[in-house]
Subunit: 218 residues, 2 copies
């Protein structure tokens, strides 16, 4: 296969939107979720994010990146006001609506109504979940880290509540995201369904990993 | 579909490995890459990571999480020693070898030889690339952020070099990762190939996004 190589200087020379598409593609496939928030005044907000990253399981911590000069600013201000937000996986049935939450709606328009997704409230949870979503997480703000290099903000948060389809949970704690219909994305605008290649056993130096078989499957 | 719900307390009560599998599944599909490093003494190291997240395109910045008490400690110490490392996408042909880099090899054993992947050196680059990888990134260390909550370390880095197959680059800067054979992962040990649903046009409030068609395709 013929190959292309780029230096730092080449990348700096790219037209701005071209560079954004190119650099956003380099991270590989990404977590795709809708973050639901609600301002102290009661306005709900929904925004698509693809920078969710796992930090640790005990306590259950994750992070994501917010661009305060974008439509994501409501997500940031609501989280800083109320500390509570939701993370909702995206299914193929509503990936277009999820993408559409990134449009710059004016004023207090809620993206829920604008894109046709349904707010779902749970007792003790101020922020809205997405009713159409199969994997739903309730989260609490823990720390804000400002990235000096480009003015973005990293939010660290703790998982406080989880709701999943019973059929997606495997015996060992793994959640089968294909059973839950979760999709993935790449670049700025590409969406993908997945097909499992395999689960592998814990890696040890002496042996190569083996495929994990489901109970009852030869 | 019947559903399962978990509170913070439920999650705290999980057995440790069960909790790790469960919480690691909640982020959705993840970036899957091999990070190549080389110590000042010349020993190469290769480790699989799935926490790569995009921070910005100008300058091209990304981050990832390292657990200093794990096999990942060599990756961290080599990056802090030399500032230079590589990020290499994983293809289905070698996903088992990629997984196997997470085994605890003793002393100065290089994971390249141990798992059967090939070191590739490029002029001016101290760290090794993975020859079998189709999407290769050369990166420079920019900042270390210690996460007080659980002792993990976040590395922020800048993309300085990119090598991709010519056939994967689309006209607008998007890199077609399916053309490059990049795979994704979920949880701690599950690997997946993907199938594109579609690329969508930039979201605007007045209209719903449309599918982006490749030139010449109706």
């Amino acid at each position: 296969m013929s190959r292309l190589e780029y230096s730092s200087k080449d990348i700096q020379g790219f037209e701005q939107r071209y560079r954004a598409r190119f650099i956003n593609s380099l991270g590989g496939y990404k977590s795709l979720s809708l973050i639901g928030t609600r301002s102290r005044a009661g306005n709900t907000n929904l925004a698509v994010f693809n920078s969710f990253f796992h930090i640790g399981a005990n306590p259950p911590l994750f992070g994501f990146i917010v661009r305060p000069d974008s439509v994501e600013r409501h997500t940031l201000s609501n989280i800083l006001e109320t500390s509570i937000f939701t993370v909702n996986h995206v299914r193929e049935e509503f990936y277009v609506a999820a993408h559409q939450t990134s449009a710059r709606y004016e004023g207090n328009v809620s993206e829920f109504g604008a894109v046709g997704l349904t707010e779902e409230f749970k007792p003790g949870y101020y922020a809205p979940f997405v009713a159409e979503s199969e994997v739903k997480i309730g989260a609490a703000f823990r720390q804000r880290i400002d990235i000096a290099q480009n003015g973005t903000v990293m939010i660290l948060a703790e998982i406080k509540y989880v709701s999943i389809p019973e059929a997606s949970l495997e015996e060992d704690g793994y959640i089968d995201l294909e059973a839950a219909g979760t999709v993935t994305c790449s670049g700025l605008d590409s969406y993908h369904r997945t097909e499992r290649i395999g689960r592998l056993t814990y890696a040890k130096p002496e042996t190569m990993p083996q495929l994990i078989k489901k109970p009852g499957i030869e």
